[in-house]
Symmetry: C2
Subunit: 122 residues, 2 copies
DNA sequence: CAGCATCCGCTCGGATACTG
DNA sequence: CAGTATCCGAGCGGATGCTG
């Protein structure tokens, strides 16, 4: 580890990475890719609510950051799939933990919200 | 786990949670709180670039979601600190993994970006 | 110290239409 | 199928000023 990097520092480049990863769509894409490469429109269908424009942007950013690999298959018509790079793979566990923490603890969060809101009202 | 919850579903409540957690500031706050409660202005100073308004909003949301506990100490003047709830504590490992993945893999990401950009240019 | 209220620029992201 | 291009409204978040 390079001790010069510090996420709490405003001007540290890690902030840029954090900004990329702290994105709902990027997390969902990375989570969806953990079982292997997926094609563009397949991703689009699987991740409900994700528009094609945002998917395109998200994939491009993830590719630029070296987390996702874009592969073009020379078929007719051309087909393209997206998979994790080795670097991206080092993140999958964390991403999965994140995404599924929500599923596991949803009830507790909803209960906390209800309690908080009723405390405000009453 | 409740199999009814699915982060890939557009209308699943877990999407709301994911939205909250997939936030740079929320992640940094949670990461900063893992060693114990911290006072408001202390947080503000430690997390560079975080404005007071956004810190306030972030803390309120995290409190509403049951991840953070706000404690008022009846001193003069009043002092307030924020700490993790037991629920919030179940997230710290994941959050820390996230924040520090950035620090660990910064060099690789920067290299990937450079390669990507030069491939575009040249 | 620990906030709230207001203004406001800027970007995110949804909708739509078009291309190879 | 796999995108690009454009328009545009909503909201995030920074700056500033004020309160108990």
């Amino acid at each position: 580890m390079n001790p010069a990097y510090d996420v709490f520092d405003d001007h540290c480049p890690t902030r840029l990475v954090l900004d990329r990863l702290a994105d709902k769509w990027a997390l969902l894409v990375l989570d969806r890719l953990q079982d292997g490469p997926v094609r563009f429109n397949h991703l689009r269908r699987d991740i409900r609510g994700l528009s094609q424009k945002v998917l395109s942007q998200t994939l491009k950013r993830l590719e630029r950051d070296g987390l996702v690999k874009r592969t073009v298959h020379p078929t007719v018509p051309v087909s393209v799939d997206y998979g994790l790079t080795p670097l991206g793979r080092t993140l999958t566990e964390t991403v999965a933990a994140f995404a599924h923490w929500a599923e596991l603890n949803m009830d507790a969060v909803l209960a906390a919200q209800t309690a908080y809101d009723s405390a405000m009202t009453g």
